[in-house]
Symmetry: C2
Subunit: 469 residues, 2 copies
Amino acid sequence: MTQLSPDFLSAAKSLLGPKGWSTEAEDLEKVVSPWRGTYKGETPFLARPATTVETAELVKLCNQHGVAITPQGGNTGLVDAGTPHGEICISMQRMNAVRSLDAFNNSMVIEAGAPLVTAQQAAEDAKRLFPLSLGSEGTATIGGLISTNAGGVAVLRYGMMRDLILGLEVVLPTGEIWNGLSGLRKNNTGYDLKQLFAGAEGTLGIITAATLKLFPQVQRASAWVTCASTDDIVKLLALVRDHAGDTVTSFEIIPANAVAMVQADVPDTRDPLPSDLPWRVLMEVSMSREDHARDVLEGALASAYESNLVADAVIAESVAQADSFWHIRETIPLSKRAYGTALNQDISVPISRIPDFIKACNQAVLEQVPTAEFVIFGHVGDGNLHYSVCEPGNAAQPVLRGQDAAVFRIIYDQVMSFDGSISAEHGVGRLKRDELERIRPKAATETMRAIKRALDPANIMNPGRVINT
Amino acid sequence: MTQLSPDFLSAAKSLLGPKGWSTEAEDLEKVVSPWRGTYKGETPFLARPATTVETAELVKLCNQHGVAITPQGGNTGLVDAGTPHGEICISMQRMNAVRSLDAFNNSMVIEAGAPLVTAQQAAEDAKRLFPLSLGSEGTATIGGLISTNAGGVAVLRYGMMRDLILGLEVVLPTGEIWNGLSGLRKNNTGYDLKQLFAGAEGTLGIITAATLKLFPQVQRASAWVTCASTDDIVKLLALVRDHAGDTVTSFEIIPANAVAMVQADVPDTRDPLPSDLPWRVLMEVSMSREDHARDVLEGALASAYESNLVADAVIAESVAQADSFWHIRETIPLSKRAYGTALNQDISVPISRIPDFIKACNQAVLEQVPTAEFVIFGHVGDGNLHYSVCEPGNAAQPVLRGQDAAVFRIIYDQVMSFDGSISAEHGVGRLKRDELERIRPKAATETMRAIKRALDPANIMNPGRVINT
């Protein structure tokens, strides 16, 4: 762990003020213990700046003293990007204000430490929509979501987090402040720096605020359908988009065994359409008028039924019923954990190749682990699958534990052979850094390294995440 | 002009083959004479590589011999980015194939030299939509459109060109090839390099191919309305989006005097709604079902009429009628030139500030040129105005010619005071480089310069465009 000099400590404390720092064991413990808890970090010092200027002054100080920094948002990441491992931790959580909202420009300036719900709520108060939505939205912060380019359940319609920003304010590794909080939709005045900081996991600077895009509010129509195969599901997506255009907001695949796991774990869960078929799809169309959305969804499902792409379908009659569909979808990760052991990967492949990928990957895993079970769910509309290899907790002869490395290698190789990505929405961090240096084209890694070295020559900004430096 | 050594020339010619190069005056003349003709370049050598590998080998050769390169697409740019000024010219026009199209993945791999119409047509053949659309679509190439991050008339709905790419293949300044032709919608495996090359105007590498996003086809409903003020127009946009959500594809402002200029220039043009009011709006809603689109547009216009935001409105009864609305819009630039002298700027401001910007900027220009007339049209939905200061060709005492620098400085200062951008969609090139170095935050320019130096240490890739190096 970094030894901090008394000079650095006294300067940092005086700069941040009494509320702006901590070395209490309890406070440090929180920021080094991430949400999922499969790894743990350490840090000598927690900074909680209240302003962009304080953040910038602290970074300058770190430069002078050669102190490395890990910026942190809600600490909900899954790839060990935002947990310090010896670095000082700069938590952005005190910077959580909505600075301004311009309803006519459909934009909002919000600070990095605000949780996603704050942005969603501020948009709603202005009769607008901020469409990013994901499980950890009460805790995950705007800065963290941008730094990891978060995904979620509405990417098919609205894109990833990087598609939802108009501008950024960033403290650069030198401690300079770049005010790029543009509210402009068109601004071709040089390299698009905001897209470089987005997804850089804090390795190129600290995002302190962002200008977010807002959208018109929409009405949803949701359906739950049963399907015989992933071939049918890929065709179904195309058919639904033929009918609904790009108003298809979500198109989530759910396997029958995941519904059973949720029912076992949460006893009062009702399966909307009990069936022996292996797959369900939860789809949502959203439009300005609810009658149009329902009209389009009904037309699509009638046509899908005629084409034998769905066996059975139910359209939610109320918001409560739609929420009950989503509740099953959102409960899968926890119920899967309750079921037993699960080795989880977040991958993507071209949508058209999903069926062949699943067949090939399952078969390859079964050669290594003949008793493996599979829970494969996620965002088919984005080609993004949460792929889990499972074993019941009460297995007579458990074999899965300890096989992580072997199983992951098999999955990675299969993903790559289908032109996919081994990190669809979770990012790189420390967890997938080395694997990605093995997989990624050398020209890409070298270009990334050149950029990192050019912008952070002292290598103090979240070192060792994304790429080796 | 660069003196090319005999060694370089013989190696380049042998590498490119007889069809792959020219030093004929006639061929060189074409590539140094851009479409609009307000500036002119020079070049000693035109390369026309047929493959990515040939392009890469040529770049390596240029590195060895210290030869600077200007990559070129359709040469339709407006900011002097793609015209060589002494550099050799690498024209991408022989690389114009659609390499593949995956309708289920909604993606297409296409080479950089293909004109935009090729992409539009290939999408249509597969019953999909490639939504980018602009005046020069028959000539402008995919590589050039990505390198300049082109805009056009459907940005409100579909975004700029950078929003329409899933992956890129790029020859780096070192001559290495980066194959980043991913067809994935989610791929968080490091810095998003494609977004760095997009909009870099060829200063960081040569784009040789791209994976484009395709969309479902849609049906249009178009309306032409008359309005009393830009205040009303900004409110009208919000009202229409309340009714139509993000299915509003276009929302174009047209001043009455521009309609008159088009009518004078193209005598059989019919004004859809003759009126003494100063403004028209051409708006378009597009949805999967035409009846829904019309329904929504009618509802929006009825409500706008009740709120006194529009005076009169006509919804196109046919595709031909809609096209006749668009014809007026698309003819403005040429008719404006026929009318007389015009000093043109492509700027953007936050949508909410458009009315105040127009008032303030017109007033400031009138202080310099009391007889100035204004033609202000463009993409209000994106905050992007084409702002022209005009004078009739038959003016008794012409005063506008020669005042470019003074008028542009006034416009730039006004744009900046409204948090706008002096290059909304046309880019930087050589034309706006120095002005932008004056205006842009120093931290941004220095970051761009650090990136340029890191990726192109020999400074051979389109030097002097975007930033000074």
